[in-house]
Symmetry: C2
Subunit: 371 residues, 2 copies
């Protein structure tokens, strides 16, 4: 039955009932966790002026800001963009409409985002993004709250085997300034070779002193000890102490790993970045970190989950019992069943097959009778 | 603090916490009603190939199909459109992926839609659309179910004073064929004058016989009686009997009115259209009717609600109690409060003002103490 023009563009897809039910259940569970921890939801629009969105993404690489669909608005004759990320929108709201709200300001969001081009790692161009932003704080306490909140949200969505991978986005800058000096021209090369974990390249780039960082990775305690050994001069001491405090706050709620040189996707984070994983997911369930809001330069800490990805590993919500309602059924009995958590499907024509319509019961004399 | 590039494009807006909470509460309440009546949610993407979306909107006026933002997809080099309505997407899913699912097929949806140009009646260009489609049926029973479902959803969202205004989209065609003949060239003129309710224009357009229709409008019983008087030849009998049965099914759940010549917005409906109103709303809360799915020509009945509009009149959800969690608080006591429906906000820095952060209580020795 599928005709050519029924096909969807690459990276876009329909979510049919079973998958949509998983997404909806995961979304409600996560939003409820965010709400319970005092985060208030805001709803920014799908489209904004391109200049405003890009301006709010300062620090984000060109690759990210050029990831948006753009088009001219006949109403303003200005270029609009379809959001590829809601975080800059929440930053905008915090800096404008909610500029006068007391800090720390806790905001939550959930909505569709679209990128113009899929990445090698992820063929999807549409994502249902859900997240929380803690605005006015990027302290250890703030980071601990946000990481724990992300873990709790993933658990509420039914995910298991959750792990948090920490990174230190400004690690090279900090070490270059305080411990292992690099020329301005060398910094980018050293960052790149650390990113690709290429020991030979790292030496060639003048970063021999940074070699031990390549091995300070893996399960948290060992990697942290390795980092402390590298950090004889104490340049990283406050950061490493901070990681230790955050890890203590998480306790055994999640497995913790450390990959201090991982930069990908943390272009706008400041001292801390983290990636969230869970059993059954090939890609990250989400990510977060500390940053400064472009424009206002206010400190903030937040995370984003990709609900559509996450729903691949989330459990199927338990199906409610479905009762068929034949012609002339007792309408108040049907309403009572629905109020008690049943689903009903009413007869519309003669000769319907109630079982084929997904009904395991039928209403007879006001009572559900198994089919 | 608002800088020029923080302003949003015309017809697009942020929903701040109080409004976002009303929208979310209304959305959940409506979706729960749809789910309880056996409607399964599907999630189509924000973007589709323009040709596919327009092809699915056959019967819709040019004004509607040209209402979409369009842009070229670098991946396919084809034109994409940002959806302005989710109904054609649900029709597409029913005709393709779910073509083999038993009928009647009950589907629900909820998502953002955008039009390129605001209308005179509604300055918003973005709408959060929620609806239900009953696919494979456009009978009286189907219409009764769908109208009642819309009314129940509005009530669940907390709206009051709900009214349903019926119209008969193919009224002029039916009467022209069976009762008051018109030349092919006259039909459009008669429709237009009935639409503007211009008695003089109607006579001039050759539609003198249609004059009584202008007065068959208002509260259901009187308007129906007036229509029956016009319909001496019985051309409308089955339709009027159908309206009467639907009205009987609704009973006193909503006020019912009839405006048989209203066409605006019902360009793709077949024998029945309806508009939903509620106290406190300047514009319609939603609309629906019977139609045929473009492409497959399958009969269907459905409705759409505009959640963002509707939330203007929906009650503010009751605020949960918020408890401040000072440094070193009892974490399991805090978790127990959240599990019992409280919200918590944790201390992040010395000198915070718990009351300014919206907390009415603080946790002391594991117990909430009023501030």
């Amino acid at each position: 039955m599928t005709k050519p023009n029924d096909l969807l563009p690459e990276g876009l897809q329909d979510r049919l009932p079973a998958e949509a039910a998983r997404i909806t259940a995961a979304m409600r569970a996560c939003l409820d966790v965010l709400g319970a921890h005092g985060y208030d939801r805001v709803r920014p629009p799908l489209l904004e002026f391109e200049a405003a969105l890009v301006g709010r993404m300062a620090g984000v690489t060109v690759g990210e800001t050029s990831a948006m669909f753009r088009f001219v608005d006949p109403a303003s004759l200005r270029t609009l963009a379809l959001r590829s990320d809601m975080t800059p929108q929440v930053g905008r709201i915090a800096s404008t409409s909610l500029a006068a709200a007391p800090r720390p300001l806790r905001l939550a969001y959930c909505g569709d985002t679209v990128v113009i081009k899929a990445s090698q790692l992820d063929p999807a161009r549409e994502h249902l993004q859900l997240g929380a932003e803690l605005i006015g704080a990027d302290s250890v306490a703030a980071a601990g709250e946000v990481v724990m909140l992300a873990v709790e949200a993933l658990k509420a969505a039914g995910l298991t085997g959750i792990s948090v991978d920490f990174t230190l986005p400004d690690l090279v800058d900090t070490l270059a300034e305080k411990a292992f000096p690099l020329d301005a021209g060398q910094i980018e090369g050293v960052r790149r070779e650390l990113d690709t974990k290429d020991a030979g390249g790292l030496k060639a780039a003048g970063g021999a002193a940074y070699l031990p960082l390549l091995y300070a990775t893996g399960p948290f305690e060992g990697a942290l000890a390795a980092l402390r050994a590298v950090d004889a001069g104490g340049a990283l001491e406050t950061r490493l102490d901070a990681l230790e405090q955050i890890a203590a706050h998480i306790g055994d709620a999640a497995r913790i790993t450390l990959d201090p040189t991982e930069r990908h996707g943390f272009e706008y984070q400041s001292w801390l970045g983290f990636t969230l994983y869970a059993d059954g997911l090939r890609r990250a369930a989400g990510r977060g970190g500390t940053y400064r809001i472009a424009g206002s330069d206010e400190a903030a800490t937040g995370f984003t989950l990709y609900l559509d990805r996450l729903a691949d590993a989330a459990p199927q919500p338990e199906a409610a019992r479905v009762c068929y309602l034949p012609f002339g059924h007792d309408r108040s009995a049907a309403a009572a069943l629905r109020a008690a958590g049943w689903r009903t499907r009413a007869q519309l024509a003669d000769g319907e097959d109630a079982r084929a319509l997904g009904c395991g019961w039928t209403l007879e004399q006001g009572e559900p009778v198994a089919l």
